[in-house]
């Protein structure tokens, strides 16, 4: 019973850390996928007096992946629909070229400003429309989400590390006699601390499995599937499994570093 209580005392903070880290991983993935989806839909409109090619634009901005000319018929049709009375045949000859420019990634507000400036410098380009306001709203929301998850992760990380440290200190105290006897017979530091490292590994495995199981369950629920599916975002079990390996390694690192700090802080067994 006492042993179970001891294990739970380490499992809870480790679980909290790993849960928060996995939450951050997932938020990061969702944002990355959302950005990728946005960049697919997002385009810059470029108006030019002369025809433009992808090679020409790529030379000034490597992130441009595609350009698509907007048919002048489409523009004339819109004018007709709005009831503008002009000589459409004549107008067609004077219309500049309209292009939709697609980017490889979702740009930040500053990158967008830079791209706009660069495109404006291309010979023949008379106007560049980046839809900055709409873009900035979305972009700032994503940054906000990322920062919130980072903040959440930092708070949980710091408080949980303190709990892990305290628990390992308790274990160190419980096993101090054994460690002292081992030291008397010349056991090196790693051998003396083997019991603490063994306990930490067991608890890290349990915590990692718990986190994996909970996230697997949550992401398989109808509600979350629908919510993410609405934005064409998917997180498959393979991703979670890969994360679990990282979480396990992180858990081991935290435990081992804490064990070493605790043993270094102890009065030296000389």
């Amino acid at each position: 019973m006492k042993s179970l209580k001891n294990h739970i005392s380490l499992i809870i903070p480790l679980f909290a850390i790993l849960f928060a880290v996995e939450f951050y991983f997932i938020i990061d993935k969702i944002i990355a996928e959302y950005e990728a989806n946005l960049s697919k839909d997002y385009s810059i409109i470029v108006v030019s007096q002369k025809p433009l090619t992808l090679v020409e634009l790529k030379a000034v901005e490597p992130d441009i992946v595609a350009i698509k000319e907007v048919s002048s018929e489409l523009i004339l049709q819109r004018l007709k629909q709005n009831g503008v009375e002009v000589d459409y045949k004549e107008l067609k000859n004077f219309l500049p070229h309209f292009y939709k420019v697609y980017l490889g990634s979702f740009p930040s507000a500053s990158t967008l400003k830079h791209i706009k400036k660069v495109l404006q410098s291309v010979a023949g380009v008379t106007r560049v429309e980046t839809f900055t306001k709409v873009h900035e709203k979305i972009y700032h929301f994503l940054i906000f989400l990322k920062n919130i998850s980072k903040f959440f992760l930092a708070i949980i990380f710091v408080t949980s590390i303190m709990l892990v440290f305290k628990q390992i200190e308790i274990w160190n105290l419980e096993h101090s006699e054994r460690m002292y006897i081992m030291a008397l017979f010349g056991a090196p530091l790693w051998m003396r601390n083997a019991i603490l490292i063994k306990l930490s590994i067991i608890d890290t495995i349990i915590s990692t499995l718990l986190v994996y199981a909970i996230y697997s369950y949550l992401l398989s629920t109808k509600y979350l599937k629908e919510l993410l599916g609405f934005e064409n975002i998917t997180i498959d079990s393979h991703d979670l499994l890969k994360d679990a390996v990282w979480l396990f390694l992180l858990g081991i690192l935290i435990s081992v570093v804490n064990v070493l700090i605790v043993s270094w802080r102890q009065p030296k067994i000389v």
Partner: protein, 226 residues
């Protein structure tokens, strides 16, 4: 550990726990390799303190202390751990690991020395037979009597064929039978293996067969009596 004629050398040795309260002061003595030595003295005279300094638990305040040619004055943890692999230590309160079986306790120095499992098991079996505890391999220390626990501690101290055995009141709490076994084992190690044996005790056993040296501590000074 290098083979030295004098396995323990103390020169103007001072030991203290509290500043300016010396337990051992300005003591000079040597212990020859392969000798059997008793350290006696009244209670609180510093016998156990002196023994502690031999296994590096207490560093000399001043003077020189060498074990097997290794100075213990400013010894680093890693070097001390190395030195201790050549020592076998026996305590009055046994200092066995309660959570481990008798077998694992005896194996401890062998595990530290890095012997294979087979060697550890064979050596442990042999030693437990030697201390007359065959069949108790899987018992835990608290399931044994005091005498049996001390014999386990004795087996552990002998497991790795140490160069020096340091024993602090090894028979202090023991029945006559266990005391006889312990003295017999210490004599055997000294006589047959040439192990240096240093024993802190209140009284020297009368029926000892091996020649021995006697150091007496009084008022913090170590005197060589015989």
């Amino acid at each position: 550990m290098p083979k030295e004629k004098n396995v323990i050398i103390a020169k103007d040795l001072c030991l203290e726990y509290k500043k300016d309260v010396p337990i051992i002061k300005d003591s000079t003595f040597t212990i020859k390799s392969g000798s059997f030595v008793f350290i006696t003295g009244p209670s609180g005279s510093g016998k156990s303190t002196l023994l502690k300094s031999f296994y590096g638990e207490l560093k000399p305040k001043s003077g020189i202390l060498q074990i097997g040619g290794v100075s213990l004055n400013d010894i680093k943890s890693s070097k001390l751990a190395f030195l201790r692999k050549y020592l076998g230590i026996i305590f009055q309160d046994y200092k066995l690991i309660k959570e481990w079986t008798v077998e694992k306790n005896v194996m401890l120095p062998l595990l530290i020395a890095g012997y294979s499992k087979n060697v550890c098991e064979a050596q442990t079996k042999r030693l437990l037979k030697h201390v007359r505890l065959s069949g108790k391999e899987h018992y835990y220390p608290l399931e044994l009597s005091g005498g049996e626990q001390q014999r386990v501690a004795m087996a552990r101290a002998l497991a790795h064929n140490p160069v020096i055995i340091l024993a602090d009141e090894p028979t202090g709490n023991l029945d006559e039978y266990s005391s006889r076994v312990i003295w017999g084992l210490l004599e055997g190690a000294n006589e047959q293996l040439g192990t240096t044996v240093v024993v802190v005790t209140h009284s020297i056993p009368t029926n000892l067969k091996v020649p021995f040296k006697h150091f007496y501590i009084e008022n913090g000074t170590v005197y060589e009596i015989s």
